[in-house]
């Protein structure tokens, strides 16, 4: 039998159900794993008491013969973007140092109601702005993965949900929450060989999740496999009257609907995603993915998403524009950091606080966002970007006339070494090239680990679906998962 720490959500569920172990044993196992993984810098705040309390509740409920919640006995890692009642929440930024919310985000609250416990708050790119976790004010997360060259180069776990990616791939937490604005769940999942799912915009409430770009932010699960993601998303999602953009729809039973037979499904291959300088290994994996889906009964069609090349520029206007406004509240007046130099007035306090509290990438995006919304530039940038966003959505709508799902690589490269791209923001932004268009269109998408590159690092494939059709995305992901047979795990060196 597998060790407890090797289990994911479904494994823990069946182990508890059959009495192989108690929820408390599970919690203790992972608490120890968290505690032993400090060198990865993936966990900002450890919350063993929370995990234990939830485990005890599960064990009690089981002993009393009660029906257990979907996440009963599963201790998870919580991205530090989710406000957690009584537990420090910083979004990876100094500006929120010392901030302890008096409220629980809807997503974390939903998970706790389903029986999950929390092992800790996970490191992340500051305010979810980054693709490598290097923008965290509390030091970068180190990926559990190493290249197979015998060296010990520290690799990026991807971002912004880098802490989540690291703990799940290192089997430090059985699952973790992530958030995805332009690829922040899918790219790190691909970098570390786990499964990450971004639902349709509006499926998960944004209430209590620290905002980066409101029209794009979506929470989602990061877990071992497709089934675990389906179980976890069922618990995270749901209508929330406190979020006006939340979808007023019932949550489907995605796990019960899992089916890897894709007969009758048409999979589109967008030709515009064959970008220049794509590593041949990724191209080859994409080809394999096509074969796997054919094997699962799907029909493959070539489709065109003609405005794809404008997605990244539009995203890097819209997201910073919203961020520049969303982050105005961090002003030193009510919570978090306050830098009040001697004799300073209000404006001086704002400037000093924000200068000291925000990291360079956050400042860069606030500057970009402020610029594109400025009088005289608004139409040229923001309005234009919104038009592009509409065109990109229309591209997808058009594609859905000839296919049901799209298959693409998740990221244009495998994980890179820490520091390798941090001096070049544009190169960093290119990481999102395959994930951003579906974010702009608000569509559900999954990244499934599908193979290793020549350096022994994981590569992911992405399935994008129609709005609200998470089920088909899960199913195609499952078909890939079954055929890819991805079992590689990082060797424990930490």
């Amino acid at each position: 039998m597998a060790e407890i720490f090797e289990l994911g959500i479904a494994g823990i569920r069946s182990g508890i159900a059959s009495g192989d172990f108690t929820a408390k044993e599970v919690a203790e196992t992972f608490i120890a794993r968290v505690s032993a993984a400090k060198s990865l810098n993936a966990v900002l705040v450890e919350t063993p008491d929370h995990a234990l309390a939830a485990a005890e509740a599960t064990d009690k409920a089981k002993a009393a013969g009660k029906t257990l919640g979907k996440m009963a006995g599963v201790p998870i890692g919580m991205k530090d973007l989710f406000c957690t009642e009584g537990v420090a929440t910083t979004a990876g930024s100094l500006i929120l140092e010392g901030f302890t919310p008096q409220y629980e985000s809807t997503v974390s609250s939903n998970l706790f109601k389903a029986g999950a416990g929390m092992l800790g708050k996970l490191n992340m790119d500051q305010f979810a702005m980054g693709s490598s976790n290097e923008t965290s004010a509390f030091g970068n997360v180190i990926s559990p993965w190493r290249r197979n060259d015998g060296g010990n180069t520290d690799l990026a776990p991807g971002g912004s949900s880098g802490g989540s990616a690291a703990v799940v791939s290192g089997r430090i937490c059985p699952a973790a929450t992530g958030t995805d604005t332009g690829g922040s769940i899918r790219q790190p999942a691909a970098f570390v060989g786990i499964t990450g799912f971004k639902p349709t915009y509006g499926r998960c409430s944004r209430w209590g999740t620290i905002a980066f770009a409101s029209s794009l932010d979506q929470a989602g699960p990061m877990a071992h496999d497709v089934r675990d993601c389906a179980i976890m998303l069922e618990s995270m999602a749901g209508f929330d009257p406190k979020d006006s953009t939340s979808l007023e729809l019932p949550v489907p039973e995605w796990e019960a609907g899992l089916k890897s037979d894709l007969a009758g499904k048409r999979i589109g291959i967008p030709k515009e995603y064959r970008v220049d300088n794509m590593p041949p290994e990724i191209d080859a994996l994409w080809q394999k993915g096509i074969e796997w889906l054919k094997d699962a009964g799907a029909k493959i069609v070539e489709v065109s998403l003609p405005h794809t090349k404008y997605a990244l520029p539009a995203y890097y206007i819209i997201a910073p524009a919203e961020a520049s406004s969303n982050l105005a509240r961090y002003d030193g007046v009510r919570y978090g950091m306050r830098d009040l130099p001697d004799g300073a007035g209000l404006q001086d306090m704002y400037a000093a606080t924000r200068e000291a509290g925000f990291g360079p990438e956050v400042k860069r995006r606030i500057m970009i966002g402020t610029y594109v919304l400025s009088a005289g530039y608004y139409d040229a940038y923001y309005t234009q970007a919104q038009k592009v966003r509409t065109l990109i959505s229309q591209d997808f709508d058009k594609a859905w006339e000839s296919c049901d799902l799209l298959l693409t690589p998740t990221a244009p490269s495998a994980a890179f070494g820490l520091g390798e791209k941090s001096d070049d923001p544009l190169a960093m932004y290119l990481n999102d090239v395959f994930t951003v268009p579906s974010s702009l269109a608000g569509l559900p998408a999954i990244s499934v680990p599908a193979g290793l590159d020549g350096q022994g690092l994981p590569l992911g494939l992405q399935i994008i679906g129609k709005a609200l059709d998470e089920q088909s995305v899960f199913n195609a992901g499952l078909a890939l998962e079954e055929r890819a047979g991805f079992v590689a795990k990082p060797e424990q060196w930490w």
């Binding site: 008096q102 406004s325 919304l373």
Partner: protein, 500 residues
């Protein structure tokens, strides 16, 4: 419109100047909760006791639109015959200030909920129709109020009270259609009246429920529009007029001494009765407006708008016309009784006591505007607090109408009603104030009076007509004022004229 004689002009060294005025009125929407949070809006609470997580802009908090505010804005728009925009949207107005925790105000710049409408104003209360003018309303949009800074609580720091933060406002933007302080005041008065009829704002300027940004420019009569200044947050009818007078004169002085008006924001200092520059256009904020991604566009259905319309009460203009044309009131009474909704409600409750209101409407209106208003004024009470109810007033008026008491006695009875709260009939009965109309009794007194004043009778009969009043007085005196004066008159005329 016939206002040539009252046209407002500034006399400058280079001749006459005309003033052009536009008003942006901020009206607090009457609701229990704030525009995007459930926090209370009650006035006068301890600082920071009515602040939700949303109002304090805690991380991850999201706005949820209060539907009642939308309904009230739509009803207000319908009440001024405005275009209701079935699609509207909220925008963020970004700026940093300590009273604005989010760092942006949620407002509606690009797509306001209400488009163009109009308001009829009257420059002469006594004859509104002869001196009316139509003032255009450009738009009404919904937005959040900011908090309040208190600078007098600490020697070096300012304190922030967020109770007002997030309270719902309607910004009602007029066209630059007003040309005198008097017109501006009439516009605000009428707007306030409409808002109070609709119930969308209590119009309480002292509590800040209504305040105006006053836009003023001057030009040579009929000439090209001048550059305007905007004086912010003026919170009384009198101050609005003072701002206009001061600003117009100042602008004329600047221009005539070779200067130029700069587009700027100014503040009014009521103590010094002057406006001062707050910031010029060059220093103006770039608010970086953009659609709020936390809120969906607001889309209204025809049925919803229809229901809003159906929920409106009879509005002041319609009511005034009905009072005049159907109830037969004078133009003055109709105007006075409809200016405040509460007055009209009181008046109509009085009329409801009878099957044929038009029969008593005029006398009731006269009584209300003279006797009741006089008394309330003296006691410093509003009509809702009147110690005499409309039903009690109806009883009193009924006693006058059926001749039970005279108008003069009625005044006496009314005073007692105000003091004791007793009903009119009871007072008349107890105090024996009933009017004597019995001709036999009066004839007897007249006979006595004539017998006691034979010389005067002779003089009267000899042609000294003026003595008639003397006989009336003597008769009334003898009857302690309770005789029906009409009957006394008739009988005296008859008796004095008979013999001789």
């Amino acid at each position: 419109m016939s206002m040539t004689e009252s046209t407002y002009r500034i006399q400058g060294g280079t001749g006459e100047w005309e003033v052009v005025i536009g008003l942006e009125v901020h009206a607090q929407i009457t609701t229990n909760a704030k525009l995007f949070s459930g926090a209370s809006t009650e006035f006068g609470a301890e600082p920071n006791t009515q602040v939700s997580l949303v109002d304090a802009a805690m991380p991850g908090m999201l706005p949820v639109l209060n539907k009642e505010c939308v309904r009230q804005a739509v009803r207000t728009g319908l009440a001024i015959n405005a275009q209701i925009n079935k699609y509207s949207r909220f925008d963020r107005k970004n700026y940093f200030y300590a009273d604005l925790p989010q760092g942006y105000q949620i407002s509606q710049l690009y797509h306001p909920i209400v488009g163009e409408g109009k308001i009829e104003i009257s420059l002469d209360e006594k004859d509104p129709d002869a001196h009316g003018k139509t003032i255009g309303v450009e738009r009404i949009h919904i937005e959040q109020d900011a908090g309040k800074l208190m600078h007098d609580q600490h020697p070096t720091m300012s304190y922030v009270d967020l109770n007002r933060c997030g309270v719902a406002l309607m910004e009602i933007v007029s066209m630059p259609d007003m040309t005198s302080p008097k017109e501006a005041a009439a516009y605000v008065r009428k707007l306030r009246s409409i808002l109070r009829y609709v119930g969308s704002c209590d119009g309480n300027m002292e509590q800040g429920s209504m305040r105006a940004d006053v836009n003023v420019s001057v030009r040579k009569p009929g000439g090209k529009l001048g550059t305007r200044t905007e004086t912010k947050n003026v919170n009384s009818m009198r101050f609005i007029q003072q701002v206009i007078e001061y600003e117009a004169q100042r602008q004329v002085d600047v221009i005539e001494s070779g200067g130029e008006i700069v587009q700027e924001t100014r503040l009014f200092d009521p103590d010094k009765n002057e406006t001062r520059s707050m910031r010029s256009k060059e220093d103006a904020h770039d608010y970086r407006y953009f659609p709020d991604p936390d809120l969906l566009p607001l889309e209204l259905e025809d049925d919803y708008i229809f229901d809003c319309k159906a929920s409106l009460p009879e509005l002041p203009d319609e009511k005034r016309a009905r009072y005049k044309n159907v109830l037969g009131l004078s133009a003055y009474n109709a105007a006075v009784l409809t200016a405040e909704h509460e007055t009209a409600i009181w008046f109509e409750e009085l009329l409801e006591t009878t099957e044929e209101p038009e029969k008593i409407a005029s006398s009731a209106a006269n009584w209300l505007t003279s006797e009741l208003f006089g008394a309330l004024n003296r006691m410093g009470l509003s009509i809702e607090k009147s110690p005499v109810s409309p039903q009690q007033a109806a009883e009193l008026l009924g006693l006058i109408a059926d001749g039970t008491i005279s108008g003069k006695i009625a005044k006496q009875v009314f005073e007692i009603m105000l003091e004791t709260g007793d009903g009119a009939a009871k007072i008349v009965e107890e105090k024996g104030l009933k009017q004597e109309s019995d001709t036999g009794a009066i004839e007897k007194v007249i006979a006595d009076v004539m017998a006691a004043n034979e010389d005067k009778v002779a003089q009267y009969r000899g042609g000294k007509d003026k003595l008639f009043g003397f006989f009336v007085g003597q008769t009334m005196k003898a009857m302690q004022g309770k005789a029906n004066p009409q009957v006394v008159n008739e009988l005296l005329k008859k008796t004095l004229g008979e013999a001789g």
